[in-house]
Amino acid sequence: DTAVSQTPKYLVTQMGNDKSIKCEQNLGHDTMYWYKQDSKKFLKIMFSYNNKELIINETVPNRFSPKSPDKAHLNLHINSLELGDSAVYFCASSQALSSNQPQHFGDGTRLSIL
């Protein structure tokens, strides 16, 4: 029973397109996150939402727009895709923002821009 699931697993598209990645967690957690892992393997936080409210926005270009329809879902929409957006995007969730409970990660979405 998958705890944090994200779709699609792979996404290949052309520069300039708009695409979305979906994420759902069934753990009952209050906080969800998006991370980007680039070609150098840095895993960096992009956004975090707590109970559908944006908490962290790490100077991500405004082409990236997260949407949280409810606390179990955090989707990521990307407009006007650029070559530098090629990366693996991970969704994660945790019990609460300030909790020391660990974050649970999805399996990632590998985005390739042609």
């Binding site: 393997k41 908490i55 991970f90 994660a92 020391n100 660990p102 649970h104 990660f105």
Partner: protein, 116 residues
């Protein structure tokens, strides 16, 4: 500026021996540290953690040591098993600055290979 560093990109250890993975950090505001394990094509999974008020935490074959004065932590796996072959990420939790939110900052990972 990389605030969490794992200086060894890879490590090979004989099965049954001890694996020691190291991590250094620069920000004294970090107050909680975690290790994650990652297999190919999967997300990181939580392994073990330690609060900054402790210097050791043990869970089965896994032990994490924290040296606050040196801003260094290490993960010991003993005995190492073939299933331990994975990439291990060190992560630190806390505010990057006085005005920032708490967040996890990850190292770049160490690929551990256990040789049968």
């Amino acid at each position: 500026d990389q605030q969490v560093k794992q200086n060894s990109p890879s490590l090979s250890v004989q099965e049954g021996r001890i694996s020691i993975l190291n991590c250094d950090y620069t920000n004294s505001m970090f107050d909680y540290f975690l290790w994650y394990k990652k297999y190919p094509a999967e997300g990181p999974t939580f392994l073990i953690s330690i609060s900054s008020i402790k210097d050791k935490n043990e869970d089965g074959r896994f032990t994490v040591f924290l040296n606050k004065s040196a801003k260094h932590l290490s993960l010991h796996i003993v005995p190492s098993q073939p299933g331990d072959s994975a990439v291990y990420f060190c992560a630190a939790k806390g505010r990057i600055s006085n005005f920032g939110n708490e967040k996890l900052t990850f190292g770049t990972g160490t690929r551990l290979t256990i040789i049968p």
